[in-house]
Amino acid sequence: MLDSNAVLNSYRVQDFLSAENLDRADATVVEIFKMMFGFEVEVDADSTLGPSREPNERTAIVGFSGAMRGSCQIRIGLQAAQSIASAMLGGAPVEETSDSVNDALGELCNMLAGGWKNGIPGLSSECALSPPTVISGRDYMVHVSKPSVKLTRIYCFSGHTLHLTLCCEGVDTSRD
């Protein structure tokens, strides 16, 4: 039976899970890191790095609504988040307790979510972004509407890793 959420989501599962979509996510990450921070990014396409083990992690989440409902999530260690905040400020040092760390991470997630969906004709105008939320630590769970599908990807930059998850919620998996 079709989940009631499925009718809310006109973006198709096979499109979301396509190779083009992964390429689009990779291109978005590479472009933003280069333009905003001056970092070269490598894609860990085979996910050889596995799950992050850093206890002091930050997670930023931006929601999608409209033609696609879901979220863009990034997970990153505190030092990596500090590097990003510092690069955004032109190289100025940033303390780990500074609000700038979370602010920079939220903005990065916002740009990644926007850059990714703006590249998809069916979503660019038809899908809105929520303001970002930033979480400290690893002891949390993100609950999503079911059924849902996810794309995950790991990127390496300047000795750090970034985990990206794109989640599409309320999809009709029975037709795909």
């Binding site: 333009m35 905003m36 905040a85 400020l89 939220g106 105008s125």
Partner: protein, 125 residues
Amino acid sequence: MQGTVLVVDDSAMMRKVVLRVLKMADVEFESTLEAGDGNQALELLRGNQVALIMCDINMPGMSGLQLLQQMQQEKLAVGVPIVMVTTENSEPQVRQAILAGARGYIRKPFTVDHIKNNVRPLLTG
């Protein structure tokens, strides 16, 4: 450059980034004002003359588009170039922003060249 630039964005980090990239693009003003939301921006505009406004669209509370509409109603910053800075890329939003008085549009992430190409002409023209 003479005058004051007003940067409106709910992210303090992004306000700093906008000001830094303006400076790198040789669009540096005598003074700067920052607002974290539309209401703060209105307060600043009621008491200050500005020469350029750089404004985010997607802000909690009063959005950038609502701010422009309110500025039109109150006849604030009439004739001042307003450039929207946002991750959104949708045509309806661009159209709404132009109708509400915006003169330019920059998508995040942006470079120094984007500022040079999209902001400087508004100040010299």
